[in-house]
Symmetry: C2
Subunit: 351 residues, 2 copies
């Protein structure tokens, strides 16, 4: 997927916008979560990477903050200041946090960004409740904006939440479906699910930034569409990294997606190809996961069956859609450059 | 707690307003839940008592619908029609449903209204997600109201959600605290928790009905305060029924609150009394629950230690506050009579 450009980037190769949006939003995020019941503040803070299980501040890394960056850049694209996007950026980021907290419970994921996940550290009940409280805090922050943009932003975030729930339900349902046959998950089904998950999240972040900046409906729609395709790109890159990525960067156990028999795009594409190797792959993946699984061999077979190439081609298709959508929005050159850096970062990341 | 009047009541002694509000809101509730992912529609519908685990319609009884009735009566108190309250009534009812679905997971409650609870039937993950989707649907319904009343109603419901989360966090925390000593839960702590749970729910229902009817701030505050005290009354009656109620009406396993060592008001009042029997009670309740527990004897000891009398006195105190708050609101006599019937129903119910 090409070479990453080293200029105009912050530490660790991440674009400056992630740092800028993160620093802008952090005080707001901290303030909103500080208003919860103290037990829930610690759980949410732990999940955010701000503290350990006892609530003591840590230097653990937080999430990348792509939602924050997208909301800020969408507002700036329309000529507004970064502060205009702030409440919307924080709201979408907190919705993102809420879904992660709940998804980790549903998926039984015991790791998140290289640490024990919140439900594993604090229990299912308290983490479930902390997730609910984070969602409420997200929306309350937007209520304070007030006026027509505030109300439109709430409607947008709630529509996003509905899609996220729909996508997660599809994802849970995929687990029950076979790898082959009429009930199998196909590439189109996978893309619909990913559009409702990461797609809806990035679309919502972009739309909310533009809405708070009082952009026209056409501009909101173009930025939201770019966000949706960027989300699909990000999800596919994530799937690829889940199999062939750098485990030091993903923070997940090595090959955990394969060990969990997750129906990611490379797997779906590989098993549905007509190469001989895909039949062998279906046989191996149909067996229950076990400690004697040769996950490295599985990864090689998926690539051999064309799963890696198909995933990269699909990712590049959405990359082109992102650029196409953005070409339809008139924006200051500096904002377009920062958006470009963010997109390339997502496209090329290995963890 | 006195004799229940038999006139002006619907079937099973329930006041007509519950049936009226229920029939008004049911099509809206069904429509909102029908828009979810099909799996989540079935889980929510099962929880509502509308269908079995396979989604087939059933005649199982739904919740009482006190939130719906309070929202409708609050709007009517201000001279508006029942339709004005509808979106608010449905929103608060769905928030109620969402909290029940999640609370049952957190509390490990395997029964709800005489049936297996949703998480026990469908699993923790899908039920957690269905609860999230119900909350989102609740708020989306209010967004459609639009205008100043719609925005104020969303703010009110979100404030209610925040309190509900706070109260549930206190409730979970109570489980970890001892029965006696400086860290014990006292009556004041219990009342703060109950005010944030059922109190906030009924306050929110009343406030939202009045807000959508464009009532003055003073009237909204008085109706919300009446709702809060009615919620406290309802919670205490629930606690009493959990120990001495009619199991055919509560739909819970007999003495389940005692078997779960729940720190309900009768228990808290009983163990903190200075009667000799309360020391014996603390000893018995401090032992882990087991199949050889004599729960009937525990119930008798709690009454002997004054737990029942203290709970009834506290309930009656909140009953007086409800009447006092309502006396400050000018409303049509028919609405006041229906409110009175609802309050007496809550005060005297045995299940």
């Amino acid at each position: 997927m090409g070479q990453r450009s080293a200029d105009k980037q912050g530490c660790c190769g991440a674009p400056i916008i992630l740092q800028r949006a993160g620093e802008l939003a952090e005080p707001v995020l901290r303030q909103q979560l500080a208003g919860l019941h103290p037990t829930l503040t610690v759980i949410a803070g732990y999940h955010m990477g701000w503290c350990d299980v006892d609530g003591k501040p840590t230097a653990a890394r937080a999430g990348k903050g792509v939602c924050l960056a997208l909301a800020v850049l969408a507002a700036e694209a329309v000529g507004a200041s970064e502060e205009v996007a702030l409440a919307g950026a924080a709201a979408v980021e907190l919705v993102h946090v809420f879904t992660h907290m709940h998804d980790d419970i549903m998926d039984g994921d015991e790791q998140r960004r290289g640490r024990v996940s919140a439900w594993k550290a604090f229990g299912v009940g308290p983490t479930l409740l902390a997730g609910d409280a984070v969602l409420t805090a997200a929306l309350r922050g937007l209520v304070e904006v007030g006026g027509q943009p505030g109300t439109r932003a709430i409607a947008e975030v709630l529509e996003m939440c509905e899609q996220l729930g729909f996508g997660q339900a599809q994802d849970l349902e995929f687990e029950q479906r076979p790898l082959l046959g009429p009930d199998a998950v196909d590439v189109a089904g996978y893309l619909a699910m990913a559009a409702a998950k990461t797609g809806a999240l990035y679309a919502g972040a972009s739309a909310v930034g533009a809405i708070l900046a009082e952009a026209s409906g056409q501009t909101v729609a173009a930025l939201a569409s770019a966000g949706r395709h960027l989300g699909l790109l990000a999800q596919i890159v994530d799937d690829v990294n889940g199999i062939w990525g750098d485990v030091k960067l993903t923070g997940k156990s090595i090959f955990s997606d394969l060990a969990n028999r997750k129906k990611t795009l490379p797997v779906i594409a590989a098993v549905s190809s007509d190469r001989a190797v895909s039949r062998r792959l279906v046989e191996l993946l149909s067996q229950p996961a076990g400690p004697e699984d040769d996950l490295e061999k599985l990864a090689a077979l998926i690539a051999e069956a064309g799963g890696l190439d198909a995933a990269i081609a699909e990712a590049e298709r959405h990359y082109c859609y992102v650029l196409d959508d953005l070409s339809r929005v008139v924006m200051p050159p500096g904002v377009r450059r920062e958006l470009g850096e963010l997109i390339e970062f997502i496209r090329h990341r290995r963890g």
